[in-house]
């Protein structure tokens, strides 16, 4: 799995000070555009946002807003169920796609489609599919049972479950691909030796696959957690936060407050999430910045 780590300053630093003064100037010049972007569009907005969220009254208001509490619970459910389900399926499917078959190779080309196409049209497609009156799903239910199908997106539990489903549909290929690269890096000899010893597939998984993929799996889960927290589209485009604002998650709640012109609440709701996000961010940064 190792992608070469670098950044060993000891190699290049001695000659630097001696002769590379012009390159250092160039270094600063070339780095300047990014620093400007960073100052103007990260530092300033974040600082400004925190300043907007400074009033304790906003947090009191949030605390008394049932929609906020509901969104927090929804976010937790979304993360716990969505991510674990997704990563478990991805781990399983990575084994499937690692099989050497021509048809599986072709299937993997199609399998990546949800990741390759933009989420807006596909989410709208799902939304329409489950439309209670004209959607295909209820049409089929009516055709076979002569009864009206359920009002899918009008039930908060079902709607949230479907948002999780859409999220999984969209990001499953990516994680499967990542875990598959991890799996393919395991030496084949290990499996052959296990085969000779008469190991079952569970034993092979338990004693060969899992130990070598553990770290990767955990990293992926954490990274997926951060990204899922920011998944705005799956919820907003499928349910719009409805019915009755019962399916909001933190990512859509901020936008809801913004639309209602309650800017300080929008920022406060994001600040509330930071104690959970920042440790994850810090951990991931440590992982990747070596």
């Amino acid at each position: 799995m190792a992608i070469t780590l670098s950044g060993d300053p000891a190699i290049a630093s001695p000659p630097l000070s001696a002769r590379l003064t012009t390159p250092q100037v160039w270094g600063i010049v070339l780095l300047a555009p990014y620093i400007l972007v960073f100052l103007a569009f990260v530092v300033y907005p974040v600082g400004y946002g925190l300043w907007l969220a400074r009033h304790p009254a906003s947090y009191v208001a949030l605390y008394h807003d049932p929609i906020f509490a509901r969104a927090a619970v929804n976010t937790l459910i979304f993360l716990l169920v969505g991510i674990n389900l997704k990563m478990a399926i991805a781990l399983f499917l990575s084994g499937f796609f690692a099989q050497q078959r021509t048809w599986i190779k072709w299937l993997s080309v199609l399998f990546i489609l949800p990741w390759a196409v933009p989420s807006i049209p596909t989410i709208l497609s799902v939304r329409f599919m489950f439309n209670p009156e004209w959607g295909v799903v209820n049409q089929l239910i009516f055709k076979f049972t002569a009864e009206d199908g359920p009002n899918w997106l009008n039930d908060p539990t079902v709607a949230l479950a479907m948002a999780i489903g859409v999220h999984i549909w969209k990001s499953l290929p990516f994680w499967t691909l990542i875990l598959m690269t991890g799996r393919l890096a395991i030496s084949h000899d290990l499996y052959e030796a296990a085969e000779v010893d008469g190991a079952t597939w569970w034993q092979k998984f338990r004693f060969i696959t899992w130990p070598s993929m553990q770290t990767l799996y955990v990293t992926c889960t954490l990274l997926s957690m951060i990204w899922t927290l920011g998944d705005f589209n799956s919820v907003y485009l499928l349910t719009g936060g409805g019915p009755a604002d019962l399916t909001h998650v933190l990512a859509t709640l901020g936008i809801r407050y913004l639309r209602l012109d309650q800017l300080s609440l929008a920022m406060a709701s994001i600040v509330c999430a930071l104690p959970f996000v920042l440790p994850l961010v810090y951990f991931m940064m440590k992982r990747l910045s070596r």
């Binding site: 160039w26 990014y34 960073f38 949800p114 933009p118 920011g230």
Partner: protein, 283 residues
């Protein structure tokens, strides 16, 4: 040819038992979209799995902007293209310069900048959206394409810099030393040695940034609102606002909108998989 044994058939059957549901799960939403795109309005709502009279009429309506909702289709398409390409080009320029500076020139404080960039990469973009919206308002850029382009550059460059730094750290130091010995200036080193060697990663990063900007919905709908300024995804989202939305046209537009990124993805898959996914997570 030897006949397959019973055990081999069993394995194959088990694999199919996984493969077929996976295929259906993957394709249903996309097929549903396609089905609507080729169905006339009456057929679209009948719940059939294939229309009785498949037609390309919906595409014609979209391309000739023959519906109220679609009167700005081409200008919105054009907006999407301009914004995606600008964001891609700008990200590429900023990130390449930064990666060269951090990795090859070892500018003082480079590691700090790298860490700050990574930090930004891990902050969920939806969290930054609200303050970004206000900031763009303060800068007077709302409803201006630059707001979305700059927002996309902000979001794309941290990862771009990181991937490019990883790739450029692998180039041997001796290369720079030899070029400098031969009297190359820093800019020549950048132009004649660094950029050509980094080409595969640059293609991957350019594609990444273009796709990111093309696919962006949240920022686009916050930052742009005039019908002639918005991008395609925002226009698609606006369909939802009305009760009498022509769903078959929505799906057709969505299908057209989804084609370019899918095509780019498959065309550059080689670079994308090697350059991006493997680098995205390392353990």
């Amino acid at each position: 040819m030897k006949l397959p044994t019973l055990r081999e058939i069993g394995t194959e059957a088990k694999l199919l038992l996984i493969g077929i549901p996976v295929l259906i799960w993957t394709l249903v939403p996309i097929y549903h979209m396609f089905l609507f795109a080729i169905s006339p309005k009456e057929d679209a709502f009948s719940g059939k799995l294939w229309p009785t009279h498949p037609t390309l009429n919906n595409f014609k309506i979209v391309f000739y902007q023959e519906h109220y909702f679609l009167r700005d289709f081409w200008i919105q398409f054009f907006n999407s293209v301009v914004i995606a390409l600008s964001a891609g080009a700008l990200t590429l320029m900023i990130a390449t310069a930064a990666a060269f500076s951090i990795s090859r020139l070892r500018v003082p404080g480079g590691r700090w900048v790298m860490n700050l960039a990574l930090f930004t990469y891990f902050i969920p973009a939806a969290f930054l959206a609200v303050p970004m919206y206000r900031t763009m308002g303060n800068y007077g850029l709302l409803n201006n394409h630059w707001s979305l382009i700059l927002a996309m550059v902000t979001i794309a460059s941290p990862y771009a810099i990181w991937v490019l730094k990883q790739a450029s750290d692998k180039l041997p130091v001796e290369l720079d030393e030899a070029a400098t010995m031969d009297g190359a200036t820093t800019l020549q080193l950048f132009r004649l040695v660094y950029v050509p060697l980094m080409m595969p990663s640059l293609v991957a990063i350019g594609t990444y940034a273009i796709l990111l900007a093309w696919n962006e919905y949240l920022y686009a709908f916050l930052l742009l609102s005039k019908d002639t300024e918005i991008t395609l995804p925002v226009a698609l989202g606006n369909f939802l606002a009305a009760d009498d939305s022509p769903w078959e046209l929505l799906m057709t537009t969505g299908f057209i909108y989804a084609l370019p990124p899918a095509a780019i993805y498959y065309a550059f898959k080689r670079y994308m998989v090697g350059g991006l996914t493997a680098g995205a997570v390392k353990s």
